[in-house]
């Protein structure tokens, strides 16, 4: 396997390099804080955050300029597990997680925790069932694995179709998020902002391919973790004298429960599986675990995530890298409920039940911005009831600095964090799609003799094309960010989990079985999703379409199992191949399609 020509001094000094970077970033924030005090306008501060951070990512991209193929696709396989984990955390924490999740938790209370569980637990599946074995397989993409294990282009194409549908849906959601942040902080219309953000994405991912992405993503993780934690740590300290919000928000929960009594609010924040009236509901119960299952399995099926573990030096590091990934992701996800709790506390304490003329400043400010926060005195009594206060979930995180009484520079910081989150995810996705098109379709199926140069050019051209289409679709606002992301997970789960897991863990899986399973699983899931979204098909068992994988996934397993048993068992060579995948040491047993690049 080609080793990259990444200088060893770079790898050995990663800790120092990124520590210096983090310090530099904090210094930059302090400088802007001083400027704000001196009277520099919010708009300029906003621009500084957006353009300077994009500039840094672009700079890293330029530093990583490369033509060497293995570096383009899998970062030369030199990313140490600790840093790969951070990069995965950034890739994982998308605009959806960063901006919307805390808001989703604010609105849904316990019900929203399905997202928290679903978007973390899948990593156990990745680490145990898939990452080490895909790393041993060692080629560049998930469709590569499908094409080799299931003997041919049919399986490869199925894999590519699922990958593109899932990744594209996901990336539209990211463009949406980028559009919101960019338009808010640059003060430009949403449709324009999407394309501005797009340029930022392309700049980062075009230049170095996969090689730049992990390093850029580490940089983005550092920014986004600082940005996410600062307001909520501050607020925790202010409210309870405890700078660890994840421990202190328990007190907020108690107070919220008391306020809910006082204000006559029927749906308790911590109430499990309750409907709007606060009563236990089986529909809520079922949707919860269906969502958790879908998101977890989707995690272990998303090609752009599985690809991360191709970039580690070896199998042992792939396993450790999953551990670090979940750790860095955990830092963010266990903080989100604290955000939600503090926001709710603030709203119940200082907003609901108050005179409308005397609402806090942050409410006044945000109600000026179009449509995200609405106050309507429906019963004309001059006092704000719960039903008269409508807050869009996407602004909970963005407004937290103001709620905490922090200066505008922290709001700019949070915006930079959200942007880092969106860009890092978009990069990972775009690369997965472009790789699938250029490597899996063009190189493996259309022109196997294509030169390295040509393959890279095709990849880059496709990257731009896909990005533009995604941005255009995002402009049409198909659905909420979190909803679109959940769709992407559903599609990936229903289409890919069965063939991947069974391919490694059950030698008897045949090509016909896997292909049939992929088609049925993905087909049913897509049918449910499109039918309920665009054709008003009624829900099956009350399961919302964010969990459509619930119907596709079991069928995928069942069909794969049944058809495999009905067809001839795989050849001796294929079984030896699977054996060799299961063992870290040594070469892969040869079957058709195995190459050593």
């Amino acid at each position: 396997m080609a080793q990259a020509k990444v200088s060893s001094s770079f790898i050995n000094n990663l800790g120092k390099i990124y520590a210096g970077y983090a310090g530099g970033f904090i210094f930059f924030v302090l400088v802007l804080a001083v400027l704000e005090q001196m009277g520099v306008s919010n708009r300029i501060i906003g621009y500084c955050f957006v353009f300077l951070t994009i500039g840094v990512y672009a700079y890293i991209g330029i530093l990583s300029r490369t033509m060497e193929l293995s570096e383009y696709y899998v970062a030369g396989r030199v990313v140490p597990p600790f840093f790969n984990g951070m990069a995965t955390g950034a890739d994982w924490m998308s605009a959806a997680s960063f901006i919307s999740m805390a808001g989703g938790l604010y609105l849904a209370g316990y019900g929203g925790l399905g997202y928290v569980l679903g978007w973390t637990g899948g990593y156990v599946l990745v680490g145990v069932l898939l990452a080490p074995y895909l790393r041993k397989f060692g080629q560049f993409t998930v469709p590569d694995f499908l094409g080799v294990r299931y003997e041919g282009n049919t399986a490869r194409i199925c894999g590519v179709v699922v990958l593109i549908c899932a990744s594209f849906t996901y990336i539209v959601a990211q463009c949406f998020g980028i559009g919101i942040i960019t338009s808010r902080f640059l003060d430009i219309p949403f449709e324009v902002a999407i394309f501005v953000g797009l340029v930022g994405i392309l700049v980062c991912s075009m230049l170095g391919g996969m090689r730049a992405v992990p390093w850029t993503q580490v940089a983005q993780y550092i920014i986004l973790i600082i940005a996410y934690l600062t307001p909520v740590v501050w607020l925790s300290y202010k409210l309870y004298g405890n700078p660890i919000p994840e421990l202190s928000y328990g007190q907020a929960l108690t107070e919220i429960a008391q306020l809910e009594q006082k204000l006559g609010i029927t749906k308790p924040h911590v109430g499990a599986y309750v409907d709007a009236a606060g009563k236990f509901s089986w529909v809520e119960f079922n949707n919860f675990w269906a969502l958790v299952l879908t998101l977890m399995i989707g995690t272990a099926s998303l090609p752009h995530i599985l690809m991360r573990y191709f970039t580690t030096p070896n199998v042992r590091d792939a396993r450790k890298s999953v551990g670090w990934s979940i750790f860095f992701i955990f830092l963010l996800y266990f903080t989100a409920p604290a955000y939600a709790a503090f926001a709710k506390l603030e709203v119940y304490r200082n907003v609901i039940g108050q005179k409308i003329a005397e609402l806090p400043a942050w409410v006044q400010n945000w109600s000026q911005v179009g449509g995200l926060l609405t106050i309507k005195d429906n019963n004309g009594d001059g006092i704000l009831q719960l039903g008269e206060f409508i807050i869009n979930q996407d602004i909970i995180v963005l407004s937290m600095p103001e709620i905490a009484g922090l200066p505008y520079v922290i709001s700019g910081l949070v915006a930079a964090g959200g942007l880092a989150a969106a860009l890092s995810t978009a990069d990972g996705l775009l690369l997965a799609i472009a790789n699938a098109l250029s490597h899996d379709i063009y190189y493996k199926m259309i022109d196997p003799k294509a030169s390295t140069m040509r393959r890279l050019t095709v990849a880059r051209v496709l990257l731009v094309g896909v990005a533009i289409i995604a941005a255009a679709v995002a402009g049409t606002r198909p659905a909420g960010i979190i909803q679109m992301v959940a769709w992407a997970f559903s599609l990936a789960a229903a289409g890919l989990f069965a063939p991947l897991v069974l391919g490694i863990w059950w030698k008897r899986t045949t090509a016909a079985g896997a292909i049939a399973g992929m088609i049925v699983g993905f087909g049913v899931c897509a049918f449910y999703l499109v039918g309920t979204r665009y054709f008003e098909m009624p829900l099956w068992f009350g399961i919302r379409n964010i969990s459509s994988a619930l119907f596709g996934l079991p069928l995928a397993f069942l069909v794969t199992w049944a058809v495999s048993l009905m067809t001839a068992e795989p050849s001796k060579e294929m079984q030896a191949f699977v054996d060799s995948i299961r063992i870290p040491k040594g070469e892969l047993a040869w079957v058709k399609g195995v190459t050593h690049e």
């Binding site: 316990y110 680490g127 108690t254 551990g323 266990f334 870290p584």
Partner: protein, 87 residues
């Protein structure tokens, strides 16, 4: 190819599979079994946190981090024990 006899290979895979099943079982417990009892667990309140809420918000998450690192550690050890770890 690693110089393993089929018997050794089987033993290795058996041990690997065993670890896999243990971890997957724990995963099911933390992801589905415990949340299924959230209503009952919420009766218990610790530090302001109703326990059902706490498990879904933090407790299970901590378990995932532990499971991933434990898997890496235990499986890497198994690899060394059977001589199949990479150099």
């Amino acid at each position: 190819m690693a110089e393993l006899t089929p018997a050794q290979r089987d033993a290795y895979w058996k041990k690997t599979s065993r670890l896999m099943w243990i971890i997957m079982t724990l995963w099911v417990i933390f992801s589905f079994v415990i949340p299924a009892f959230a209503v009952q667990l919420n009766e218990i309140v610790i530090g302001g946190f109703p326990l059902g809420f706490y498990m879904a918000a933090q407790g299970s998450l901590i378990s995932y981090v532990v499971l991933c690192f434990w898997n890496a550690y235990a499986q890497n050890k198994t690899d060394e024990e059977f001589g199949v770890a990479e150099e």
